[in-house]
Symmetry: C2
């Protein structure tokens, strides 16, 4: 789970944003990405008010609607394109489709079916291997979870059930307790705290694999750890690889770690909570290479793909692994289609029973921006991160502490941790911007994250001038 | 988790609702509860559109706002009354308070602090024992979860950690695996499937206690089961008591079960997902007697208290039990107030890390209805359930299968399960209303649940006429 915890709200109090402002003498690279096409304030007011009327009309006329839909399972997929549009659709198009496609399917099955199709759309945007898609007759598929924490936990629990059944099939005398005592999961020492928490909840050991000089988990380090554990009689069963770690947005080496997991019959879960959104751009898709070795993959469109919180997208290759872990069917939850194999019961894919209609958010966002608009948004943020990186490079007082790959820049003043803690204190006390720190190999590091929908180059420069000024003040004060 | 899975949408296709319609010859009890004061469609349109402008204005002016609030931890409680209002507030009052009380506290700490105060308001509405409230310096407190499933799971996990630590403190050589293998949790055989699921996830045994003739778990049956299990070397550690079961809205006997749990040092969790809302009425509060024996209590305001999905309210007596089970503090989640003891870090109280601002929904609903309005709403539903019960009583072809306490009526045609399955099939195929069945002691039972915000006496009669007609058709067809 990645950079969300670093908050850099580029809201500047006195200085108002001036669109397009750029000093003509600037030595900075010019950002080639224009703002993606988005709804302006005027249209937002108009459409928002139309939606209020839509809801009121619906409630006024609800007695004219049928309590149970006439549609058959699978009705929705043929009514919707097989992938997201490249160019934006209009708001009218979308709202007309709501009346035409969603309303006849009521809350159920429309809520489920749109989710399956939207997760296929998104999977295709990322170029996920076919095996992760539901399609017409696939064995995989996607589900919206509330958070990456829940996705990691679901994957760990499914893996725990799978290995327990396998071991009990081979040795029927083995109890669940005897197995759980020996199970061990792995992640990089850079993995998010939610991975450790999943281990605690699942009642299994979780071991941290030391990352390399670039803060990545390597295949050899994983292999070493699990050989040692196997020799001690433990049972390695689950690995979380992180793409885009929280601290510094580093990437575990999937092309090494993946084959180790497959060879050892361990479930591989990928947590790309923050970085995942960038994979919709062809030039960043290589960061996902190796996903073909994984059993489950997760990222958060609510972090960086303009879908409002919460919306955490999770895919599995074999949905029966997930479903098999928790399926319980009391009579009051039975329905006439459940044994047909035609439909998806998402309640078996997640921790809660109830579900919100979150795929509507995805549908609206994907169509209103189009794939090109979303790509432009990602590219712009990354470009702005490089702009900040460039400013840092020109100032010899600072050092950059990790490779800038996406929208996060890890930096510090050359000097002691104490000095950098003092700088952060000055920055956050001034309340013009807000930064969240991390530790990298013992160094106290500041994190500059581009994450606001409306961020522009001017904000980055204002932030830099501000940081630079506070650094000067601090260094002067230190000398006195 | 209760009656939500029974859906009776009293939407009638041809017959339009006529407010106040009642045949003068009706032998039915007259419903004394008028509709609670609610926002009509006209005001909804007006206020909804004002809210759209509020959001647009906020976004347009966001650069004039500070990125980090000036308020200190605990700022909010003194600005808000100590309990919910008896009479409704106006929409203007509430929206003015949003600007005055919420906006200066931004998302954090306003989101956390309003939640703590709203959970205290709601706890007081239910007359929960003081120990469950956070107050100024309490050791308990409430948190909003997404679902009763998650509340049950959190309670089970906290109980598991607590008993494990206690046993390991007494016998340091004991491994977690050795303990988990012996842990056993209990619930009634009428408990919701989510309880069994929590056991599966937590990796512990869950045993069903046979309920009595009124579908209630009794103290003696629980005591018997745990004596047997202790004799076999197992470790009883957790009990879920249900108030308002899903199948028939029965109530476990808390006054018997509670003391058993306390004596045996087992964590008692109460699941009142559906029934909980009714406890705000003094005449139904007795159903909650015995809550003082519990460690945690949960119900879903999104089921029956007019708060939109999702909003599941959970209280614990000792918040350190919950927090202690999962607390992990990486640097990127640290903040300057966390060791002060002044603030609540809800991320330790739940499975996900991220949180939505769900307490705003509670604040608006509690203030717009007032306690009296909410009580009137509950009373009206229960009265309508009794109206349906009365209609059934007058028809000798039907039998009532469980005591009608709240808004659920369990009934069936006198006769075979096959006959009743056929009746349900006819009802649900006609699609005028929708019923969900259950099994009670081997009998196939239909469930009529009052749960729509706008339901009136006319709907209940139309539904009854419809069911009665379909039953006549069925019985005639059976004879032929």
């Amino acid at each position: 789970m990645a950079v969300a915890s670093s908050v850099c709200l580029l809201t500047v109090r006195e200085e108002r944003r001036e669109k397009g402002e750029r000093a003509s003498t600037s030595p900075l690279p010019v950002c080639p990405w224009r703002s993606p096409p988005t709804m302006n304030s005027r249209e937002f007011r108009r459409r928002g008010k139309e939606m209020v009327d839509f809801v009121a009309d619906y409630l006024e006329g609800i007695e004219g609607r049928q309590v149970y839909p006439d549609v058959q399972p699978g009705y929705l997929r043929p009514l919707v394109p097989t992938s997201a549009p490249e160019e934006p659709d209009t708001f009218e198009d979308i709202i007309n489709d709501v009346e035409k496609i969603i309303m006849p399917g009521a809350a159920s099955p429309a809520c489920t079916e749109l989710e399956t199709v939207m997760m296929d759309w998104l999977g295709k945007m990322l170029k996920l291997p076919e095996a992760f898609l539901a399609g017409e007759a696939g064995e995989g598929g996607g589900v919206i979870q509330g958070s990456a924490s829940e996705a990691t936990l679901m994957a760990l629990l499914a893996a725990r059930t799978k290995v327990t059944r396998r071991l009990q099939a081979a040795s029927p005398g083995l109890t669940q307790g005897a197995i759980m005592e020996k199970l061990v999961a792995y992640s990089s020492d850079q993995a998010h705290s939610s991975v450790e928490r999943a281990g605690l909840i699942g009642g299994v050991k979780l071991k941290a694999i030391p990352s390399d000089g670039k803060f990545a988990m390597r295949g050899s380090a994983l292999q070493e750890a699990l050989e040692r554990d196997k020799a001690e009689g433990l049972i390695p069963f689950f690995v979380v690889a992180t793409l885009g770690t929280t601290s510094c947005c580093s990437f575990d080496n999937l092309l090494e770690v993946g084959p180790v997991c497959n060879k050892e019959d361990m479930w591989l879960h990928i947590d790309a909570a923050y970085a995942g959104s960038s994979f919709i751009c062809p030039e960043f898709r290589h960061l996902l290479n190796g996903v073909e070795f994984a059993d489950s993959f997760n990222f958060n469109p609510h972090k960086w793909l303009l879908v409002n919180f919460d919306c955490s997208a999770m895919w599995v290759k074999n949905r029966t692994d997930l479903i098999g872990a928790f399926k319980l069917d009391p009579l009051y939850l039975k329905h006439s289609h459940q044994d047909s194999g035609l439909i998806t019961d998402y309640r078996h894919w997640q921790l809660p029973l109830g579900r919100r209609f979150r795929s509507l958010k995805m549908w609206f966002v994907f169509r209103m921006y189009g794939i090109k608009g979303l790509q432009a948004y990602i590219r712009k943020h990354i470009q702005l991160a490089h702009e900040f990186e460039h400013l840092l490079h020109q100032d010899p007082r600072f050092e950059i502490c990790a490779e800038v790959t996406l929208g996060l820049v890890c930096f510090r003043l050359k000097g002691s941790n104490k000095l950098n803690e003092a700088l952060l204190e000055r920055i956050n006390s001034a309340k013009k911007i807000h930064l969240v720190p991390c530790h990298l190999k013992g160094k106290f590091v500041l994190r500059f994250a581009i994450c606001s929908r409306t961020v522009e180059s001017t904000h980055v420069r204002l932030a830099w001038d501000h940081i630079s000024q506070l650094a000067s003040d601090l260094l002067r004060a230190e000398k006195e």
